[in-house]
Every structure is written in structure tokens, then in C-alpha cells.
């Protein structure tokens, strides 16, 4: 009577496959019933009614990258924190709560230092990024 041990992951794979199928089948079905009369004007990109000038794919502002950068550091941090935090209760019951608390605090304080530095240097500002070093 043993259910396959991968049974717990099976529904995830199934859901992802069904997600793909959902999109594919719906697009196929609509292909049958919908009209299809493309004209060059209709297939133009919307640019407030004017003819579009140039491509949209151009270099962008660097602040998006800074946001992504701080995000990824905290993302990794949370990935490392999740298992540690989930054993806190168990460790507390075993009497090692103080030790693990100190470990968590050190880990977090180092990162708080990092974000405090970024805050101080103005990396967290969205608008003022260019006037940081004026003083």
C-alpha cells in the first residue's frame, strides 16, 4: 500500500504541465473561432497614434539594476535563513536557543550593516541617485 514516494511532487509537475496545456489548448481553440485579418497598420506598435519612432529596446537607467542587486542579496539571505529559522523551535526545546539566536543575530546584523551602507550612500533613493556625492 505504499504510495510512490515522489507522490508529493507529482501534483506540482502535473500542475505545470496543465498550465502549459491550458495556454496551448485555449490558443488553439481561439484560433478556430476568432477572426484573423491582419493589416500592417493594425500590427503596428501603439505609440499614441503616431508612427513609432525607433525601437523600444534601448539602454535603460541603472537604478533598476541596483534594486535587483539589493533584492538578490536579500533573496539569498532568506534562502539561507529559512532552514535555520525553522529549527529554532526545536533547538529552543533542546536548550540551545541562545546559541542559535546569536547566530541569527550575527547573520542579520551583517546584512543590516550592508543595507544601512546602501541607504547612507543613497543607493536606496530612486530619484536622487545622481546627486549623492555632491556634498
Amino acid at each position: 500500500m505504499n504510495v510512490d514516494i515522489f507522490g508529493v511532487y507529482f501534483p506540482i509537475v502535473l500542475l505545470i504541465v496543465i498550465g502549459f496545456l491550458f495556454v496551448a489548448v485555449t490558443l488553439l481553440v481561439t484560433k478556430v473561432v476568432r477572426p484573423n485579418r491582419p493589416t500592417p497598420l493594425k500590427q503596428q506598435i501603439y505609440d499614441c497614434g503616431e508612427n513609432p519612432v525607433g525601437k523600444a529596446w534601448s539602454a535603460f537607467n541603472v537604478r533598476f539594476y541596483i534594486v535587483g542587486l539589493i533584492f538578490i542579496i536579500f533573496d539569498i539571505e532568506s534562502a539561507l535563513m529559512f532552514p535555520v529559522v525553522s529549527v529554532f523551535k526545536k533547538m529552543q526545546e533542546m536548550g540551545n536557543g541562545g546559541l542559535i539566536l546569536i547566530e541569527i543575530l550575527i547573520f542579520l546584523l551583517v546584512l543590516i550593516f550592508g543595507i544601512a551602507y546602501c541607504w547612507r550612500r543613497g543607493d536606496l533613493d530612486w530619484v536622487k541617485s545622481y546627486h549623492v556625492n555632491k556634498k
Partner: protein, 183 residues
């Protein structure tokens, strides 16, 4: 049964994604193929019973690294292939030419053969007697990893926070926009 199917599908995803990264001509497409390949690797982790590592792969790569790559691609001029350098002479397109592919192919083939030989020798000499019982390993990977992180590998855990601090501060300094009148 399901494990086998999952393994085969994930392997196909991984390898096809990696190969498409190597051959696609558009760097944004390449990063999407990288995403597919990384999801395949996460599937392989699942077949190995490493659920936490698989989900970490998903969180860090899919949510983090790929988005960061896409941002960086947008910041460096999108997928435009600048064939002509600003000094005026033509050079290889950004996604490689036939010459680079031949050289790269030969090099990677050579390294693959050498590494494959090493792996083969290693596998022949490795006993697979004491492999984990699947039932137990899936049960509590998270708390086991957590316990390892706060006991045996605590130094690596704390040092990784220093590494992250260094990466954050360093990358923020490097990527900070150049000020007018600063130089």
C-alpha cells in the same frame, strides 16, 4: 516509475536548455533558455530527494539571477548585436562566430573527455552501498539542513553573510552611476 519519468524530463530540459544557451543568437533568448535549464536542474534535485535545494534553486535563480541578468541585458543595450565597434572596424558578432564555436567546441570536447574519464574511474571505485533511504531523506531535509547550518557548517553560514555583504557593497559601488563633474 514517476521518479524515472521526472528524471528523464528534467534531464531533457536541462540539456536542451543548455545547448540552446550555447546556440541561440539572441542574448535575451539565451537567458530564457538558461531559465529552462535551471528549472530542469531543480527537477533533477527533486529526483535526488533534495527538495530544499530544488526550491532554493527556483527562488534564487528564477526569481533572482535571471531577473538580474535581464535587467543587465537591458542596461547594456538590449539584444542588439553591435557588429561594428566604435573604432570603426568590423569584428565578431556578440554571440560568437564560426571560428569561436569551433575553438570552443574542441576545448569543451577535450575537457569533457578528460573529466569523463576521471568520473568514470571515480564511479568504478565508488561503492554505492550506503545510499540514503529515500523515505527518510525526503521526510526532513529542511530541518536536517537547518541543523547542519547551525552546528557543523556554522562558520560557512556566517561567512556567507560576509560574502553577501561584500557582494552588496562592492556591486553597489561598481554599478553606481557616474556623476557629471565627478572626474
Amino acid at each position: 516509475m514517476f521518479g524515472t519519468i521526472l528524471f528523464i524530463c528534467s534531464a531533457i530540459f536541462t540539456i536542451c536548455g543548455a545547448v540552446m544557451v550555447a546556440v541561440s543568437k539572441n542574448v535575451i533568448h539565451a537567458s530564457i533558455y538558461l531559465l529552462i535549464s535551471l528549472i530542469g536542474v531543480a527537477g533533477l534535485y527533486l529526483t535526488l530527494g533534495a527538495d530544499f535545494v530544488a526550491v532554493t534553486q527556483l527562488v534564487v535563480y528564477v526569481g533572482g539571477v535571471v531577473i538580474l541578468m535581464l535587467f543587465a541585458i537591458m542596461l547594456t543595450g538590449g539584444a542588439d548585436l553591435k557588429v561594428v565597434s566604435r573604432y570603426g572596424f568590423t569584428k565578431d558578432p556578440g554571440m560568437g562566430s564560426l571560428k569561436t564555436y569551433v575553438i570552443g567546441g574542441l576545448t569543451s570536447l577535450f575537457m569533457a573527455i578528460v573529466t569523463g574519464k576521471l568520473i568514470y574511474n571515480a564511479v568504478i571505485n565508488t561503492t554505492t552501498e550506503n545510499q540514503l533511504n529515500m523515505e527518510n531523506s525526503v521526510e526532513q531535509t529542511v530541518s536536517k539542513i537547518g541543523t547542519l547550518l547551525v552546528t557543523k557548517h556554522v562558520l560557512a553560514f556566517e561567512i556567507s553573510s560576509i560574502l553577501l555583504l561584500g557582494a552588496l557593497v562592492g556591486a553597489a559601488i561598481i554599478a553606481r552611476p557616474v556623476k557629471l563633474g565627478d572626474e
